[in-house]
């Protein structure tokens, strides 16, 4: 399923494609300047993004887990997982069930970036930016499908909320990894410092039938000076 999705993406990349615009944004071009990125840079960006789309084997996994108790900054899930985080509590909006989500572009993205880092650093930087844009896009794509499925059953799905957002500690990655068995299911592993490998990977918690709904986005992040913060 996803393979076809990427094939289509790879064939249709142009300067106007949202993925290319997003890649340019990660490279420091503002949206107005993106249109003026010089022809040669744009050409290389499209080439790199195309190679990424052709090579990557993205995958994702999700699992519904009942919330046993929630209140204030404390969220307790079935299986004995207790998470202390005010911002997570807000994002979950008192839901009684969550969807735990994990996704990755796969090791190919890291391999490509690593290869170009030793060969042509400009392409490595462009690949890295494109990979970040692709990861977000893939997560959005996968979550839309999950949302549609839930909607058919009369549920709603909230926004992705990831460890590292607000006061939701990165340490809870360990729990998420146990719940999803990420190494086996999507090939993502976790270091002792809670860094995901492959690096272009995302985990998140989403409320099922929470009252917060959509559009939490960057507002929940405390890094106000972030270069990529969406207004």
């Amino acid at each position: 399923m996803y393979a076809k999705f990427w094939e289509e993406q790879a064939e249709n990349l142009s300067g106007d494609h949202p993925l290319i615009k997003e890649t340019l944004r990660y490279l420091g071009y503002s949206s107005s300047q993106a249109e003026t990125a010089d022809e040669r840079t744009l050409e290389v960006v499209i080439e790199c993004a195309g190679e990424l789309a052709r090579r990557c084997r993205p995958r994702h996994i999700s699992r519904r887990i009942p919330v046993k108790a929630a209140g204030g900054s404390r969220t307790e899930l079935e299986g004995g997982f207790v998470w202390e985080s005010e911002s997570l509590g807000r994002a979950l909006g008192g839901c009684s069930e969550v969807l735990i989500f994990g996704a990755t572009l796969g090791v190919e993205a890291d391999m490509l970036i690593g290869r170009f880092a030793r060969r042509d650093i400009s392409r490595a930087a462009i690949m890295a930016a494109a990979a970040t844009a692709f990861t977000e896009d893939y997560c959005d794509w996968a979550c839309r499908r999950l949302e549609e499925e839930l909607q058919q059953q009369g549920h709603t799905l909230g926004e992705r909320f990831s460890p590292g957002y607000g006061d939701f500690s990165l340490e809870y990655q360990g729990d998420i990894f146990r719940i999803l068995d990420c190494p086996k299911n999507i090939g993502v592993t976790l270091t002792d410092e809670f860094i995901m490998i492959p690096s272009k990977s995302v985990t998140a918690v989403m409320a099922i039938d929470g009252y917060c709904g959509k559009q939490l986005g960057c507002r929940y992040c405390s890094k106000a000076d972030c270069l990529y913060r969406r207004k």
Binding site: G28, Q33, R63, G114, R118, I121, S122, A128
Partner: protein, 805 residues
């Protein structure tokens, strides 16, 4: 009774899924159910019992999570979990009045191995060793390594099992719908690797259902010469109301599996989602099938972590350029541990069409065992071609073979007793295709018959070590025609004799033929063409020699090996033959005329525009008349400054800055090659040690900083990523570096950065530290006592200029 005694006499049946059965018994999300071996043994034994009642011959011990990483915090040791798991399985098996085999389940560590991940090969080996030793002590019948998705990890597991137990070893791996393992390996690559390591059976499990696995399984049966195991899932997993469900019914599963058994698979079972029902149907459907006899496919194959290269009727090019003999620039790179230069040689050869890369780092003044394993790892981290380990140092050969990710080509063994006694045990243990040189104690025979005799001795001796002749490639050697007029004739005759008489593949270092003659390229290319016509399978050659590549492409087109001449056309369409009198095709292709008689402004323009090839070419020309240092100071640095200022002003963006940096790098490389050959060393403005701190594996930012600092003339000692504080201190002290750059991307690794800064302040107080990375701020940098926070690569250049001038 050993399972090997039964194997092939009848179809053997594994059990089915364990996890999905335990879920029904109330397994919680994320629970390590290996603990149930102690806490709920009856539940585990009940699952075993159900599978044995369904007809399984083999039950897999409940120990998928029994490794020291996953078992931490369970309150049990790996040894306890493994032994109790085996005891439970054994106890149930005794209830049955037939032969039941108890297989010790060796599962992935859950970590990715370096260089992609953070687990070292040696640590992975130790983790597996602990498991397999406990398994043998606990009385398991064999080691079953399964669900592996990385070739290097499965290699660590197989080596651990073979070196520390006497049990038979089976190994199965997991593929995705594209027919690849997680880290990119295809079926041929993994079969080459596992067979060369000497597993008793191999195959596929998990990941996909029997219908999606059709292609993968047919590939296994086509290439494998050892028994094949198939344990699919009951289809693809699907989420339904929060539960994972599988769709393939027991009947459909069994029918599909029957096809695989009829096609040649010997061992069948199920993985996730399969139940005792699936196994019951499977057994009744396939019990009467007589296993198809095993055939040795006789393929001569080497592999990398992604693909295999078969040495068959289509000739193979082995790139010879990573070999310091006669290459002063490479010697310098090896002495300086300049991996960047070595990798460029690798990339270049891959671009030119090399299918295998020769790796030779033999220099008298370096530690060859350490260097060759470092180079093998570095090359494999970015280039996916199989490698030829080229050394006469046996310790270096073993080190390289052990860390090599795949089945290597080994260069070489010869007919001397001493050589065969040293090399063959390594070939047997680690696998590989070994090149046998036809020389022995009395030298190189001058007659073809003499070389044939040595080749025969090599092949027979190898066979006495259990090495099949398909894993031997004979090099009949060539002596220059300038001293032996019959040199070429003898070589070609010996080549044909060896191919016909011994049935082995051949290799040749072609260019020796012309030693001592002018215009060696002419002789070499023509001799290569003759050797190809005589049946040469592999040639070790210089991929920069156009004549050789022309001979290769022409041969393939002329013999129908290049379908529709597609490769030839792809290579040469639109090119023209060099005009009479011109030196080489490369000169004819030299870039646009505007750069002829290049002025300083042309180099600057090329750098500012980020034109890599032009910048290198112009610099090379200018260096014929300009002092290297003058070129750097008056042209390279000013050009970089133009771009750097633009970047800081926001008119030049990161990609452009880096394209310019690459162009400047190409110009610098031209400078270095001039300085290197003059023996004047590399003029540097000072040394800077850079690293991504311990625990952090992000290095793109650090790599950008490195390229820019190099551009400005600093010598960079790049320690890589995930570097311990001690290693950084050691390098700073050893190199007497006055500046260290540290990078960290995550909040969780800033602690390691602080620790490093503290250690540096104690051990080398005169050394400044600059820090950068996504999570850092000016304030954060102060807090951890860094001397400078650098917000981007240009800022690091400015601080370097401040500290080092």
């Amino acid at each position: 009774m050993s399972i090997l005694d039964v194997l092939g006499k009848r179809i053997l049946f594994f059990d089915g899924g364990m996890g999905s059965m335990l879920q029904k018994k109330g397994m919680m999300p994320g629970e390590n159910t290996d603990v149930w071996n102690f806490t709920r043994p009856e539940d585990i034994m009940d699952v075993h019992r159900q599978y044995l009642e369904a007809g399984s011959d083999i039950i897999l011990v409940n120990m998928f999570g029994a490794n020291r990483l996953k078992a931490a915090g369970t309150g049990y040791t790996v040894e306890q979990l493994v032994k109790q798991g085996i005891a439970n399985a054994r106890k149930v098996s005794e209830e049955f009045d037939r032969i039941v085999f108890v297989a010790a389940d060796v599962a992935p560590t859950g970590k990715l191995l370096q260089p992609l991940g953070d687990l070292s090969f040696d640590d992975a080996y130790d983790i597996f060793k602990e498991i397999v030793v406990a398994a043998e002590e606990g009385g398991a019948d064999f080691i079953h390594i399964e669900t592996m998705s990385d070739t290097l990890e499965v290699k660590a597991a197989v080596l651990a099992a073979k070196e520390n137990t006497t049990l038979p070893v089976f190994a199965t791996v997991t593929f995705d719908q594209g027919g690849k393992m997680l880290t990119g390996g295809n079926v041929e690559a993994v079969v080459a690797l596992l067979e060369s390591l000497g597993v008793d059976a191999l195959g596929v499990n998990c990941g996909l259902g029997p219908f999606q696995l059709e292609k993968v399984i047919s590939d296994f049966l086509r290439v494998a010469s050892v028994p094949v195991i198939i344990q699919p899932n009951a289809g693809l997993p699907r989420q339904e109301k929060g539960e994972t469900v599988y769709d393939v019914t027991a009947e459909d599963f069994a029918k599909k599996m029957r096809e695989f058994a009829e096609a040649g698979a010997w061992i069948l079972g199920g993985c996730c989602g399969t139940t005792p029902d699936h196994i019951r149907c499977l057994v009744s459907e396939c019990r009467d099938i007589i296993p198809k006899p095993l055939t040795d496919k006789g393929r001569t194959v080497v592999s990398s972590y992604t693909h295999a290269v078969e040495i068959a009727d289509d000739p193979i090019i082995i790139g010879e350029r990573i070999n310091p003999t006669g290459k002063s620039r490479l010697k310098q790179a090896l002495r300086e541990r300049d991996m960047g230069y070595i990798l460029q040689e690798g990339f270049g050869q891959q671009d030119k069409g090399a299918q295998i890369l020769d790796i030779n780092v033999g220099l008298p003044e370096i530690d060859e065992p350490a260097m060759i394993s470092e180079v093998v790892r570095e090359v494999q981290s970015v280039i996916d071609l199989p490698l030829q380990i080229d050394t006469s140092n046996i310790e270096a050969m073993e080190k390289a073979l052990r860390c090599y990710n795949g089945k290597a080509m080994i260069n070489s063994v010869n007919g001397k007793k001493e050589s065969m006694e040293a090399v063959f045990p390594l070939v047997k243990k680690y696998g590989g295709v070994v090149v046998g040189l036809t020389l022995d104690e009395s030298g190189i025979p001058s007659e073809a018959e003499g070389r044939y005799a040595i080749a025969e001795k090599i092949v027979k001796t190898a066979e006495s070590y259990g090495i099949s002749r398909k894993d031997i490639v004979i090099d009949v050697l060539c002596l220059t025609i300038s001293s032996d007029p019959q040199g070429a004739v003898t070589t070609l005759k010996a080549l044909q004799m060896v191919k016909e008489g011994l049935g082995v593949r051949t290799s040749l270092g072609v260019s020796n033929i012309s030693f001592g003659l002018p215009r060696r390229d002419i002789i070499n290319a023509n001799f290569y063409a003759q050797a190809l016509a005589a049946g040469l399978d592999c040639a070790i050659l210089n991929t920069n020699a156009d004549g050789m590549l022309q001979a290769y492409h022409a041969y393939r087109a002329l013999t129908g090996k290049d379908e529709n001449c597609a490769a030839f056309i792809g290579q040469y369409a639109g090119t023209t033959a060099p005009e009479a009198g011109s030196v080489s095709a490369a000169a004819a292709k030299s870039p646009d005329t505007a750069i002829d008689g290049a002025a300083a402004s042309d180099l600057e323009r090329a750098i500012v525009k980020g034109l890599k090839e032009q910048a290198g070419d112009i610099a090379a020309k200018l260096l014929k008349t300009t002092e290297p240092l003058k070129l750097i100071n008056e042209q390279l640095v000013p050009a970089l400054d133009i771009v750097g200022k633009g970047f800081e002003a926001g008119t030049v963006f990161l990609p452009q800055l880096l394209m310019s940096a690459e162009a400047a790098k190409a110009a610098f490389e031209a400078v270095r090659s001039v300085m290197g050959t003059e023996g004047s060393g590399h003029a540097s403005k000072g040394k800077i040690v850079i690293a991504t701190v311990k625990g952090d594996i992000h290095d793109i930012g650090k790599n950008i900083v490195k390229v820019l600092l190099e551009n400005y003339g600093y010598k960079i000692i790049d320690l890589g990523k995930d570097v311990a504080p001690e290693a950084i201190v050691e390098a700073a002290v050893r190199e007497d570096a006055k500046l260290v750059g540290l990078s960290a991307l995550m909040t969780t690794t800033v602690g390691a950065m602080e620790e490093t800064i503290k250690a540096l302040a104690e051990a080398k107080p005169d050394c400044k530290v600059m820090v950068g990375g996504a999570v850092l701020t000016e304030q954060y940098a102060k807090m951890i006592h860094a001397d400078k926070y650098v917000r981007d690569a240009m800022a690091s250049v400015h601080f370097a200029q401040e500290v080092l001038g």
